[in-house]
């Protein structure tokens, strides 16, 4: 099935190519478990494109950070492949006029879920993974220790278990048929609620434990499609000087407050910040908690309707209760 979709992807990319100057998609990585972004500038390379449950990267990250300001030659566009969740990042960028819709050709990929490598490794234990087979429901994991079978759901990313938008909300062309959203999706804010059930002291202790590991490598920031400040991030500037280079807890807390509050009312929960964290800190939870707040307080979810203005960039004189 994946090979069918892959050839459909190739065919649709070929069809679109005359209007494109660049196509961003996924290609095979150094082994079967890894994919890596590919930037195609020559139609001959279209065959490199792949589509499978390992295509984890949110390619929208390149859109605002690298290509928003560039203007196309001869009105040619930039093609970009997006999953359902990735498409919300694009919409969020459109909501803030950070990209122009007409600059992009969006190839939508209905997605049944992406495999979480960390979960796979956890399941295989110490044994090296030799290969993994994925079909509709099952995962067959072959390691030095033998073959193990798991339900697919067990190895999906956290975000996929509560996915409500398997189909891209915005696209120029769709590869494959639209999928029916899963009916057994976890509650959107299950994981946030789990933290909320802790006492205040326990929560502080939890975050002290997690954030203490932070190296301030800024990978979470760089992987975020909506962190558009890039190297002007106030975590690093001297003027104004919000943070020192001192590696202690207040500075680490402060950095994550900056990252999260800059995403309040904007984060589309693609989960990339958490995936790329080398210290496996659940940093996406902070943004999810803020999303829960903006939903409850201001009835807003980022990345759904391109016309809506993010709630902290506007006001309502008549609103009450705050």
């Amino acid at each position: 099935m994946n090979s069918d979709l892959r050839s459909e992807l190739h065919k649709k990319a070929e069809q679109a190519w005359p209007d494109l100057e660049l196509l961003i998609g996924w290609q095979a990585g150094y082994d079967d478990l890894h994919t890596t972004p590919v930037f195609i500038r020559d139609s001959a390379e279209i065959s490199k494109l792949i589509w499978n449950p390992w295509c984890t990267q949110n390619l929208a990250v390149y859109v605002a950070k690298h290509f928003a300001a560039s203007s196309g030659k001869d009105d040619k566009k930039i093609g970009v492949c997006v999953k359902g969740c990735d498409s919300r990042s694009l919409i969020a960028l459109l909501q803030e006029n950070l990209v122009a819709r007409e600059r992009f050709y969006i190839i939508g990929m209905p997605c049944k879920g992406i495999v979480d490598l960390r979960k796979l490794h956890a399941l295989s234990g110490a044994a090296r993974i030799l290969s993994v087979q994925v079909n509709a429901e099952q995962v067959a994991l072959k390691s030095a220790a033998g073959v193990l079978h798991f339900p697919l759901d067990e190895v999906l990313m956290r975000k996929c278990r509560r996915c409500r938008y398997p189909n891209p909300l915005i696209h120029d062309v769709l590869v494959g048929d639209p999928l029916t959203p899963r009916t057994d999706a976890h509650e959107a804010y299950n994981d946030v609620a789990a933290i909320e059930r802790l006492s205040l002291q326990e929560r502080l202790a939890f975050w002290q434990g997690e954030l203490d590991r932070c190296l301030r490598c800024y990978a979470c920031r760089n992987a975020c499609p909506l962190c558009v400040c890039q190297d002007r991030c106030i975590a690093e500037t001297r003027d104004p000087k919000w943070l020192t280079q001192y590696m202690h807890l207040p500075e680490k807390f402060m950095f994550h407050f900056i990252h999260a509050l800059h995403l309040a009312g904007r984060c589309t929960e693609c989960g990339e910040c958490e995936r790329v964290c080398p210290m496996e800190i659940p940093v996406a939870l902070i943004k999810e908690a803020l999303n829960k707040i903006t939903l409850e307080l201001l009835d807003f979810e980022a990345g759904l309707d391109p016309q809506r203005v993010p709630p902290l960039l506007t006001f309502d004189a008549g609103e009450t209760g705050i």
């Binding site: 300001a69 803030e96 950070l98 400040c229 002007r232 104004p240 960039l313």
Partner: protein, 652 residues
């Protein structure tokens, strides 16, 4: 940076609960502080000299004064340090009086708090930079909104001073409410006889351009450089051609059109000039009643007009004009008494408003100046006036005093007794408010000379009986109920904010109170200024007042404009936002949130876009600064670094 700290004792105001010497001593511990002292009255002449001497002798680059609120003396000290050669923004104040010595008697805690506030001020000052104001040219044209007596006075005074004036009036004629009055208190001189010549002056002054039947559509810009769009509403008569001959009005077949100028007491035609003294004396079509519009055919006026001025196709026209200042004189409306169910709620034709009675009294009114009842034209014998209808009554959300009703009732009662010596006049009042030159004497004349019966008390009920109106009330002086069999009841309807006042305020960005009256800058000391520089107030739009006060405010507003325009340029505050272009990531969020449209795109070489603040438009609120993710926009004199420095003193 070499910093000097001056701790004021304010006599005993501060020194009695703060150890100022200790505060000064502790200040010397902070980095960059090279001089610290305490003094009896720092704001006094010797106190200021002490600062100036220290600047010179100690070579100070920055000064902190710990004293009263900066809202009190910041300008004083800024001037003082400037005289000694420092930039006025190399100065900070610590508020150790209003925020410390006056709110607690705990000497120890106060001293610690004062020392910390000084520390914060020093920490902030270390991030201060010299700032200098920029200057922008002033466009010396003035817009007056509203052509009542206040607006007329303001326009004439400005024009007299040689300024170019544009006067915008919503109605077809200027004159406002005063044009509807019969006589004025306390002199009983004819209203239109004193207002008329001023209206004519407006029409004749070459440097006043009058836009009647027009409204302000939008306002952009700032003091010295406002850009205003004016909507000229379609009158369906080409005013360049109309001679005001009135033929159209004579021949118009629509005869049952409520006469708004006469407060709907009579009828007029669907085309015409609102009243004989109208300025401009031009005809207007009332589309709501004109048969050409309601039935699609008629065309009588078009046929009859000798100059061919009628144009049914006319549409609203928009014009843009630039001004350096704006005077708002939009006046008021009368409270609608239909919310008083106990007075009939508008059901009884012979219970009328004060302004309706003015029209009845007026010789140019619906009954030619003969006092008669609207219902049957009968001459009334007993007339009851009820004060405070829509004033001083929280139950209708009008707790304020309208200020003029006591006087206009006295006037109307006197005029009634004059016209109809056999009549009986009764005034139900709560208190008599007559603080004005010859005002109280006037009310006394009504009572003593004209025999008007003043009854102190409220009226509880009015109901019709046998072609009379029974007025039931209390006489609180006698402690008894009274009933008057009246023929006519005049309600002294109060003053309320003009319809549309709030919308106009939003356009002008001036504030208004809960009742829609515009807010002056300071209730005592800046009565005609608003908090938006370059916008001034005159007349009742700012709050209820009588004609003399309205005229005085019109003149005052004109004087303010003249003072502003006596210079060619104005200084703009340098406490504005500034973009660090290298840090700007062109996300546009600052442009999106700026309440003043003060930030725009700027294109650098290579088509790179950056945000740019227009310093003359920026009001310095800092919303952009708070919004900017990379903090590329910094509000000068209140930068992130300055606030962070203050926080760090307290928390780090």
């Amino acid at each position: 940076m070499r910093i000097g700290v001056f701790v004021c004792q304010c006599g005993t105001n501060i020194a009695s609960t703060v150890e100022t010497e200790a505060v000064a001593r502790e200040a010397l511990q902070h980095p960059d502080v090279v001089y610290a002292t305490s003094y009896m009255y720092t704001c006094s002449e010797p106190g200021q000299q002490q600062i100036q001497r220290a600047i010179q002798e100690e070579n100070l680059q920055g000064v902190v004064v710990a004293a009263c609120s900066p809202r009190m003396h910041e300008p004083t000290f800024r001037r003082a340090v400037e005289k000694a050669g420092l930039n006025r923004f190399m100065f900070e104040m610590a508020n150790i009086r209003e925020h410390v010595s006056w709110i607690s008697n705990d000497r120890q805690a106060n001293t610690r708090k004062a020392a910390e506030l000084v520390h914060m001020a020093v920490a902030k000052l270390r991030f201060n930079h010299p700032l200098s104001p920029s200057r922008v040219a002033i466009n010396k044209r003035v817009l007056v909104i509203g052509g009542g007596v206040a607006g007329i006075q303001a326009a004439l005074d400005c024009a007299e001073g040689g300024l170019e004036v544009v006067l915008v009036e919503r109605q077809p004629s200027i004159g406002g409410k005063m044009a509807k009055l019969d006589k004025t208190f306390p002199t009983i001189d004819c209203s239109s006889c004193i207002l008329g010549p001023k209206m004519v002056d407006v029409a004749q002054k070459e440097n006043i351009r009058l836009y009647a039947c027009s409204e302000v559509e939008s306002v952009a810009g700032y003091i010295g450089n406002f850009s205003v769009q004016i909507r000229r509403k379609a009158t369906c008569v080409d005013w360049n051609l109309c001679t005001g001959c009135g033929l159209c009005m004579e021949k118009c077949p629509a005869k049952k059109v409520p006469d708004h100028f006469n407060e709907d007491l009579g009828n007029t035609r669907a085309i015409g000039i609102p009243f004989p003294q109208a300025i401009p004396k031009k005809a207007t079509i009332d589309k709501e009643h004109c048969r050409q519009f309601t039935r699609g055919k008629c065309g009588v006026c078009k046929k009859i007009c000798p100059v061919g001025a009628i144009d049914y196709e006319m549409e609203d026209e928009f014009i843009s004009e630039d001004f350096g200042a704006i005077i708002v004189a939009t006046g008021f409306d009368l409270f609608d008494h239909s919310s008083y169910g106990e007075y009939g709620g508008g059901r009884f034709p012979d219970v009328i408003s004060g302004l309706q009675y003015e029209r009845i009294l007026s010789a140019s009114g619906p009954f030619g100046g003969h006092i008669q009842r609207p219902s049957d034209g009968r001459q009334p014998r007993n007339i009851v006036f009820i004060a405070c209808v829509g004033s001083r009554d929280a139950s209708v959300d009008r707790p304020y005093c309208s200020g003029v009703c006591c006087m206009y009732i006295a006037k109307q009662a006197i005029l009634t007794r004059d016209h109809l010596p056999d009549s009986n006049c009764y005034v139900f009042y709560m208190d008599i408010r007559s603080p004005g030159k010859n005002y109280d004497e006037f009310v006394r004349r009504a009572q003593e000379e004209y025999g008007v019966n003043y009854i102190r008390g409220r009226v509880g009920k009015i109901y019709p009986k046998n072609n009379h109106l029974i007025v039931q009330g209390a006489d609180t002086l006698l402690g008894a109920q009274v009933e008057v069999e009246a023929d006519l009841v005049v309600l002294a309807t109060g003053v309320e904010a003009s319809a549309g006042a709030r919308e106009l305020a939003e356009k002008l960005r001036i504030s208004y109170d809960q009742y829609g009256f515009y807010m002056e800058s300071h209730p005592k000391l800046r009565p005609v200024e608003t908090n938006t520089a370059g916008v001034y107030l005159a007349g009742v739009c700012q709050g209820p007042k009588d004609i003399p006060s309205s005229v005085a405010q019109g003149s005052a507003a004109a004087a303010k404009v003249q003072a502003l325009f006596s210079r060619d340029t104005i200084e703009t505050s340098p406490q504005v936002a500034l973009v660090n272009e290298r840090a700007c990531v062109a996300c546009g969020k600052c442009i999106q949130v700026c309440p003043f449209g003060a930030i725009q795109w700027k294109e650098l070489r290579g088509g790179i876009q950056k945000a740019e603040v227009l310093p003359s438009v920026c009001q310095g609120c800092g919303l952009c600064n708070a919004t900017c993710p990379p903090k590329a926009v910094q509000l000068q004199h209140c930068t992130d670094n300055q606030i962070l420095a203050e926080i760090d003193v307290l928390c780090a």
